[in-house]
Amino acid sequence: MSPDITPTSTASATVRSAGAVMPARHYLNEQGGWASWLLTTDHKRIALLYLFSITAFFFLGGFFALLVRLELLTPGGDLMTSDVYNRAFTMHGVIMVFFFLVPSIPATLGNFLVPLMVGAKDLAFPKINLLSWYLYVIGGAFAIAAMIGGGVDTGWTFYTPYSSMASNSKVLTGAIGVFVSGFSSILTGLNFIVTIHRMRAPGLTWFRLPLFIWAHYATSLIMILGTPVVAITILLLAFERVLRVGIFDPTIGGDPVLFQHLFWFYSHPAVYIMVLPGMGVISELVAGFARKNIFGYSFVAFSSLAIAILGFLVWGHHLFVAGETPYSALVFSIISYMVAVPSAIKVFNWTATFYKGSISYETPMLYAFGFVGLFLVGGLTGLFVAAIGVDIHVHDTYFVVAHFHYIMVGGTLMAYLGGLHFWWPKITGRLYPEGWAKLSALIVFVGFNLTFFPQFILGYLGMPRRYHAYPDEFQVLNVMSTAGASILALGYLLPMVYFTWSWKKGKIAGDNPFRAKGLEWETTSPPPTFNFDRPPVVTEATHSYAHQEARVV
């Protein structure tokens, strides 16, 4: 950009901020004022708009989780009425799934990094990118309206006929919110696919791309092909509520289970939308902090595609006890086992990457370690529920709740936090406080396990999910879980505080405080509005550290 930019710290200097400078002009201060933010087409600013709104929804969803866990401290339904409780867990699920997990990494880190990582000036369709944020906000507004209007009480899965015929809650408003936010997701995916296909820098072949890009590409395929199905399903549900006649109505020969098939046709791939980007982040963190290319790069890249494809073929494992025929149950079970294999491949490859690496323990690396451990447990417990004989017993119990929270929270959320920490210097030009960050990571890890491990035991004991009150003998485990949740909450609040603090007060980071490889680190922190002074040309794979001093074997 401007010729006034001071050169960055030299390669042999001590790490971090000694001598690090922020460029005089960059995407954050290039333009000021509300309009420049609310009408921006710069992918980096849009990423920050998303960061802000997603964080708000995360804490709202978290608040509902705390309500749920507080009620579950005692066996009786004594803190709130059943109706309020049912709304609390529904709002927790709806907000966390549709307004936090699905957009989290793609819309913040993805939006920020995809153009940078491929060496482009922006995404393919910057205005559509802005539109996607507005759709997210409008969808969110409907969700808030539903909440203010009394909430939705159908569970985030909206099963018919309860949602279409029996619920007295704000199902329509909530459904519209989900519907609109789905299109935000679709447009994000569309933008990523076209950008990755058509805007890679010269020399950046597919197999030189960062694994973050492969992960987001696979995620985008799912967003494009899966989300429309839940959109139309929700729309059909909305029709039924408004017109009071519809295709899920058993009294006219309709099939309420058809809703489940259509719903899970998206919602199962959706969990891969939620976890694949996290896996992409972990690949970057492991490579960056072990200073090595990921072991088995092409296997990890292809495993993302395999997960995306196979993920579309397993929805029926949510319907093992919903009256599905035994033969279709078998098909869904075997494919569910197959989809576990690519995830295993990734875990083994990440582990192998550490062998003869050069590993440092900054906070992002700690989150990566945490991810591998917790995702491992979550993924392994997926093998339990894929076994139909066991799933019959644990379906709709806390076992499943624990399983998916290990993946979503122990997996995706840890990856998100790890990625936020890793790229925070790039996004803001400043460092987060390392000591506090490490402490928070530890608190999160401990709090998480205390919250969710007891739930595996509760589930196998037979405690069903979505239960306002429960038999006395389940109390001890529930109390442990709630205690963990309060610790976990602290672990999430601390980053809020120190990230906000660091925005203005953090140490200046410089271009590449972690000395990682990747096109995003080849430009200033924060980057200029158009990302690169001059378009980069690529000659080797991303995480090639050979030019630095190799480890003596």
């Binding site: 805007m199 899966g226 139309i232 006649v245 259509l262 378009p535």
Partner: protein
């Protein structure tokens, strides 16, 4: 921190100053921009296919379960109007293809005429659709005094030869999907027409040249897609068991 791994291409720091006015700042060439727009529209169409696909799935499931009810309800639809609409849409795909061709050749007047023709055909389609819906939604006052007031004929009654006959449950399922499918389709037509108006306005101002006519081309893709959806809808909805 350059260490040789990434070379930076030299060149004009502001290459776009002399570029085509339609070249966006983040693309290097018009060709790249057009490829991106085209791929974007194909990806969008893929998601539209999945969107309609959900409804087609529901349709297929209930058709397998209730063939008689489906046949009865399908036979209530107006085959003539449906047939005319099919022909109208196919013709409009032709006119939009001709518009794209005219844009490729730079024939400004032809672009406008063919786009206008497409627009008119699209409007004709919607008008016919309106009349079809109106006849199906005809509400007989005497029959909705009952406690369960519901708006649509699938709720109670069909007009058949001037008589009101009660609607069987399976016919209701058909009609819900009929309205959902054709309604969604009509909505896509309306959006298409709105976009077409904008493109028509641009064409009138001579915005399209053989070097740049991307909006016409990708609009054409979208319009063809909407046409193809109808080509599936028509036999599935109107032609069930018509050979009797």
């Amino acid at each position: 921190m350059s260490d040789g791994a990434i070379a930076h291409a030299g060149g004009d720091p502001a290459p776009h100053a002399a570029a085509h006015p339609r070249l966006a700042h983040h693309f290097d060439t018009l060709g790249q921009q057009k490829d991106a727009a085209s791929l974007g529209m194909w990806v969008f169409i893929a998601q539209e296919i999945m969107f309609f696909g959900g409804m087609f799935t529901a349709y297929l499931v209930y058709r397998m379960w209730y063939p008689a009810g489906y046949a009865a309800a399908s036979n209530e639809l107006d085959l003539v109007l449906g047939g005319i609409n099919t022909a109208v849409l196919i013709a409009s795909s032709l006119t939009v293809a001709l518009a794209v061709h005219a844009a490729q050749e730079g024939r400004q007047k032809q672009i406008v005429w063919y786009l206008v023709a497409t627009l008119l055909l699209g409007v004709v389609f919607l008008v016919i659709k309106y009349f079809e819906y109106e006849s199906k939604l005809h509400l007989h006052p005497a029959h909705h005094a009952a406690a369960n007031v519901r708006l649509f004929p699938m709720a109670g009654w069909f007009h058949v030869d001037g008589e009101l006959v009660p609607v069987a449950n399976e016919m209701r399922l058909f009609m819900v999907l009929y309205f959902a499918l054709t309604g969604m389709h009509a909505l896509h037509m309306i959006v298409g027409i709105a976009i077409l108006l904008v493109i028509l306005w641009m064409a009138r101002k001579g915005a399209f040249t053989p070097r740049w006519y991307t909006p016409v081309e990708i609009f054409g893709l979208y319009w063809h897609f909407v046409d193809i959806v109808w080509i599936f809808l028509f036999p599935l909805l109107y032609l069930v068991n018509r050979h009797h």
